[in-house]
């Protein structure tokens, strides 16, 4: 693949918003196909890509809608590229069916959702974290997905690369759940030298053609891939299929097919999950947050700690799969988890399930349109501090 010229990876220090940083992260990850449809507040990513791709050997196409955008990136990946699409709430809804096709056909790709307030058209220009459950199970049928959430423009750059790497490693669409605040926040972004950017290569099959079985899993549950045009004569379908990729419409094959799709994520969850902890060692209260809400919560944590409260933070970088093991460990010894989200309780439901009554849990809801007042998070923390 052509890496273009020396303008491909813009090594250096920049002052970018999260949307631009995400676009640059995709470019640094080797993404060379982009299909999208304009929607606030994600459009700046598409704009940046449209401007940059002709300078570095990428193909940008603006499709007629989000259903087409999602379908196009799947096609481009099977042609042998790395591909991405970006959208916001309403477009994310339209992409769901083909995200399911990506899951079923194990097509590595990245879908960015710069979240805004909903439901429906909601608050096009204002923030939200209300698509988190849609990220998990928005497509029909049963599956597991990988979703990451950045808290800064720097993470928009770094984690977009991580999204591509996870997509390649586990052959699954990876969802990058940004929010309007992080997308439009402008901060310092450091782009490292090319040689410091680690890319997970596509898991190409290189054995004899006659022995290739498109859905025969390796030890970690993930099959090897070929690209169209290489005479492997693959058949790839959204129907339940066997190792050859042929449709088999019965419960036995469904069990084989779906349990592998689910287990390749569940069994590798410890390797996939990324979290960040602050002051959790002897905390009485742990705040769990992601995206912009984690940034806001730090103010509340600082204020509470200034008053002597033992408060820590567990920041979710990976939201799906949820860091079950670590949360369960902490639940044995903390008094409470406090979880601010810009929704009425989505990832919080998973927290409650994992905690299973071993300590208290408290959601700090927000309907969207703005971030939490840190005072609300502070008050929730102090309820559990003597």
């Amino acid at each position: 693949m052509g890496m273009g010229n020396d303008r491909t990876v813009l090594t250096g220090i920049h002052f970018w918003d999260g949307d631009y940083a995400c676009a640059e992260g995709a470019i640094a990850a080797g993404c060379r196909f982009f299909a999208g449809y304009p929607i606030t507040p994600s459009t700046e990513i598409a704009e940046r890509i449209a401007q940059r791709f002709p300078l570095l050997g990428g193909t940008f196409i603006q499709m007629e809608d989000e259903l087409a955008s999602m379908a196009a990136i799947l096609g481009a990946v099977w042609a042998g590229t790395k591909a991405m699409t970006v959208t916001s709430g309403p477009g994310f809804s339209l992409m769901q069916e083909n995200i399911g096709l990506g899951v079923m056909t194990e097509t590595p790709c990245v879908v960015v959702d710069v979240q805004r307030g909903g439901p429906s058209t909601g608050l096009p220009t204002l923030t939200g974290q209300q698509d988190m459950m849609q990220a998990r199970w928005g497509s029909h049928g049963d599956y597991e997905i990988i979703a990451l959430s950045p808290s800064s423009p720097q993470e928009c750059f770094d984690l977009t690369i991580t999204c591509f790497n996870l997509a390649e490693q586990y052959r699954v669409p990876v969802l990058f759940m940004m929010d309007e605040c992080v997308g439009h926040m402008t901060e310092k972004v450091v782009v490292p030298p090319v040689e410091q950017i680690k890319l997970y290569p596509r898991r190409w099959y290189r054995g004899p053609k006659e022995k290739y079985r498109p859905f025969q899993a390796e030890a970690d549950g993930v099959p090897l891939m070929v690209r169209a045009g290489r005479d492997y004569r693959v058949h790839i379908t959204g129907l339940t299929h066997d190792e050859r990729g042929y449709p088999v419409i019965n419960a036995e094959c469904q069990n084989w097919c779906v349990s592998r799709l689910v287990n390749k994520i569940r069994d590798n969850a410890d390797k996939i999950v990324m979290i960040e902890e602050f002051h959790t060692e002897n905390a009485d209260v742990v705040v769990i947050a992601y995206g912009i809400s984690a940034r806001v919560a730090f103010r509340a944590i600082d204020d509470a700690r200034a008053r002597g409260a033992k408060v820590g933070m567990l920041r979710l970088i990976t939201v799906w799969p949820f860091p079950e093991r670590r949360v369960a460990e902490l639940a044995q010894r903390v008094k409470a988890f406090v979880m601010p989200e810009i929704n009425m309780g989505q990832v919080y439901l998973e927290l409650e399930r994992v905690v299973a009554g071993r300590c208290q849990t408290r959601h700090v809801p927000h309907c969207g349109g703005w971030v939490h007042n840190p005072q609300d998070i502070f008050d929730a923390i102090m309820e559990y501090v003597r």
Partner: protein
């Protein structure tokens, strides 16, 4: 002297381990598939470069029977998936084989935009005037008065005239044949495959099990006999005249064949001109051979 063949002459282009197929006796889809594979072979286009994409429905199953790289996608989305394949690897010959409901109803938006872009691909649209796989519901091509399960008193909607639709949107090759016209159909598919840009072949195909039965059209043979009696070859006709009425005349022929820059030509030439020496054309797919 009659030569005995142990294999069908197209066996190397079929997934013989998936046959028998699911299509009903006297359905026209087998004939269309035969015509496509024959045409493909006659073009000399390398088989390994050829990719078949389909959506959902009876015709959507075509991708599963061809021994080529083939993708059976979601309902209506064959065209955008095919667009990604073509742009991801411009070397590929991308062929979409799907039905009227898939391409024109749920996928209608993609059809008009793919035609508008003059996207480099061939579409074989098998029109059986109904949603057959779900048991025979009316669709965007169903002639007025035709009865189907969701139009029990007959359809009262105005149907699409597909050649006119796609021509007006920008398709640069447009033909229509029935499955009776095997040679003309094969030849048109061949021309479509060799045509640069968006080529579209509508193939009228009998559905005796559902559409035919609901409208007392008789057996598959009776339906093909109707094609024989009522088809009129009018090459280069004004596509506005190509409307189809229940039991009426079917205008067939090659209607449009013109050269216009394709999507890829436009993109590369325009950006090359405007961006100038800074323009880096797309370099093709990732290398899958090295370690």
């Amino acid at each position: 002297m009659i030569e005995r063949l142990d294999r069908h002459p197209l066996d190397d282009l079929l997934r013989v381990d998936r046959i028998p197929h699911i299509w009903c006796p006297t359905c026209g889809l087998g004939i269309v598939l035969n015509a496509f594979l024959t045409a493909l072979r006659e073009t000399g286009i390398p088989q390994e470069d050829t990719v078949v994409v389909s959506g959902i429905g009876c015709t959507g199953r075509a991708a599963g029977y061809v021994n080529l790289d083939s993708f059976h996608t979601t309902h209506g989305r064959a065209l955008p998936f095919a667009t990604g394949l073509k742009l991801g690897n411009p070397k590929l010959k991308v062929v979409v084989i799907s039905g009227d409901g898939d391409l024109v109803a749920i996928g209608g938006n993609h059809l008009i935009h793919s035609a508008r872009r003059n996207m480099d691909m061939t579409v074989i649209c098998v029109n059986n005037f109904n949603y057959a796989m779900t048991g025979g519901q009316f669709g965007p091509t169903t002639p007025k008065q035709a009865k189907l399960t969701t139009a029990p008193y007959g359809s009262y909607e105005h149907p699409f005239n597909l050649p006119f639709l796609v021509e007006s949107c920008g398709a640069t090759y447009v033909a229509r044949w029935t499955v009776l016209h095997i040679r003309q159909m094969t030849n048109s598919i061949k021309e479509a495959l060799l045509h640069p840009g968006f080529s579209f072949a509508e193939i009228i195909s009998p559905c005796p099990t559902v559409y035919g039965r609901r409208n007392q059209l008789g057996s598959g043979l009776d339906i093909v006999r109707y094609y024989q009696e009522k088809s009129v070859v009018k090459n280069d006709v004004d596509t506005r005249e190509c409307e189809i009425e229940l039991g009426g005349e079917i205008i067939v022929g090659r209607f449009v064949q013109r050269r216009k820059p394709t999507y890829l030509e436009m993109m590369n030439e325009y950006l090359g001109q405007i961006v100038g020496e800074d323009f880096v054309p797309y370099q093709g797919p990732m290398d899958d051979t090295g370690d």
